[in-house]
Every structure is written in structure tokens, then in C-alpha cells.
Symmetry: C2
Subunit: 162 residues, 2 copies
């Protein structure tokens, strides 16, 4: 089953200094941390903060290419978590119909943010990542202002590869 999620924020693995993007569902009952690369984190952060660069960054180039070939990003899906590696698929439609591209979640999320495409996560991925009910805790700690990895995944750091 696919669950619609959104980018809740970015944080840093305190042990490995690897960036983590946090996805949450609309009710904020489920959180999915995804360990990602520094550049991909920068590509996500710059879009969240609406930073304007004088030159197109790599994910802007991807967006421009998609637009110029007349294609559209319909959705992205985080499809699997296997051997500590996350998998995602970008779903597009072009002049010849629908097609998909295999992607890392970080690139897929950076593209989703730039194109307004929805983000879905296969529920099995959430199970595998040991998601937990954060609702009460989140309200108490006001996580929306300052998300920290401690608030999401206590004692469960550094398990995942980029």
C-alpha cells in the first residue's frame, strides 16, 4: 500500500554527519528518515528555502530537461528498503505515454519538490524503517520548529546507507 507523505525537514546523523531527510504523512503519524548525500540534501534544502542561484543546479537542470521534452512528473514513490539501501521510482508522462525511472529517493524527492509532484512511500518501507507514532511527542517538543534526529529515531542512528 502506498502512503502519501511530504518532506518534513532535514537533519543530520549526529554520529556520521550524513544528512537525513525526514518524510511524514499528512497526519504526522508516520515518519520515514532517509539517509542521503550532501549534494542531494543541498538540492532539497535550497528548494525548501526557495533559494535562487544565478546558475542552474543539477536538479534544476533535470527539471528544465523534463519541461523541455514536454514530460511531466506525475509522482515519485519510495518503493523499497533493502540491505540498508532505499529505492525510489519517478513516474512521468511524456509524448509517448507513461514511463518510470529508477532513482535514489534523494534525487526523486529533489525533483518532486521542484515539480510539485506528490511523494508516496510503500508501507513496507515504513515497517522496515521501524516507524513510530510521533504525534504526541512531536507536539510536546515542537518538532516543527527544530527537528532533530533525536526526536525521531532514538538509539537507531547510522543504520542506513545513502
Amino acid at each position: 500500500m502506498l502512503l502519501k507523505m511530504k518532506v518534513f525537514g532535514l537533519t543530520m546523523d549526529p554520529f556520521t554527519n550524513v544528512p537525513i531527510v525526514i518524510l511524514k504523512d499528512d497526519g504526522e503519524k508516520n515518519a520515514l528518515p532517509v539517509w542521503i548525500g550532501v549534494l542531494e540534501a543541498s538540492a532539497i534544502a535550497s528548494e525548501l528555502e526557495k533559494v535562487q542561484f544565478s546558475r542552474p543546479m543539477t536538479h534544476d537542470l533535470l527539471k528544465d530537461l523534463i519541461r523541455l521534452v514536454g514530460a511531466k512528473v506525475e509522482k515519485i514513490e519510495v518503493t523499497d528498503l533493502k540491505d540498508n539501501v532505499y529505492y525510489a521510482t519517478i513516474h512521468l508522462t511524456g509524448s509517448n505515454g507513461a514511463f518510470t525511472i529508477d532513482s535514489r529517493p534523494s534525487d526523486a524527492i529533489a525533483i518532486a519538490l521542484r515539480t510539485g509532484a506528490p511523494i508516496f512511500v510503500e508501507s513496507g518501507v515504513l515497517d522496515k524503517s521501524k516507524s513510530m507514532d510521533l504525534k504526541g511527542e512531536a507536539r510536546d517538543k515542537n518538532l516543527k520548529d527544530e527537528p532533530s534526529l533525536d526526536d525521531f529515531m532514538p538509539g537507531d542512528y547510522g543504520k542506513y546507507k545513502m
Copy 2:
């Protein structure tokens, strides 16, 4: 006038630790250093070294997208150097004919290497970057084995932005 060039190697600005990709023409008479980002340098290096990753890196995603929409990269051009910023254009053909995308040279070069597209540089860019005759020096120092910024641009470091 456009000059056909190739990727000669990667090196590091010793003062700023910013990666530099060195382009050279076939006769190795002209060299163009381009200051680039760390990730783009990694994308260029991994293709030069034919490193295989288990998951597609961002520039592989670009390549896959170009292939899946039935487009082809015809060439890339480094078109200008203005206020210490390099400009490039990616030339493609798709089902609706030819089109171009504005790009940083680093992304354009990373794509050229992955698609086998030729790299051209506007001669004015070479003039502006103060290219020099490296032919004799290069042979003496066996630069092809271990290129170093000292061999290319003595006393001329750190002038350019990414």
C-alpha cells in the same frame, strides 16, 4: 569560434580546495581550467574512472531520462566566462527537433562524458581564462599521469567561482 576539447583531468585549487576540471584541445595547445563543485567533480571522476555504483547517481539519472524520452545529446558548449562564472549549453535533439538547455559547464561535461557527446569551447572563453601554451611543459612533466594545478596555471589560482 568553437574549439573541440576533451577532459584532460581533475585537480584541486590548492588555496581554496575547490575542484578544477581541466579541458584541453586535441593538440594540447590550449588548456581551460574550470572551477567546479565537489559533487560535479565526483560525477566527472566516477565516469572517467568508470566506477560502477549500485544506485544511479544524479547525472546517471539525467542520462537515463535523456535516453527514455528518446532524446540525444549532440554536443555541449562552454559558451562564456563572465564575472568569473562559466556558462555552458547542452545541445540535444528530441522527437520535436533540436533544443538547448542552459547549464553549468560541470553538469554539461558530466553529461557529455556519459553520452559520448563532444565538448566545444568558445575561443573567447579561452582568451578570457588566459590559456597558455602547455605543450612542451606538459610533455616534460608527464602531466598525463599526475596533473597538478601548478602545471597549468602558476600564480593564477582561485580567481573563478564555481
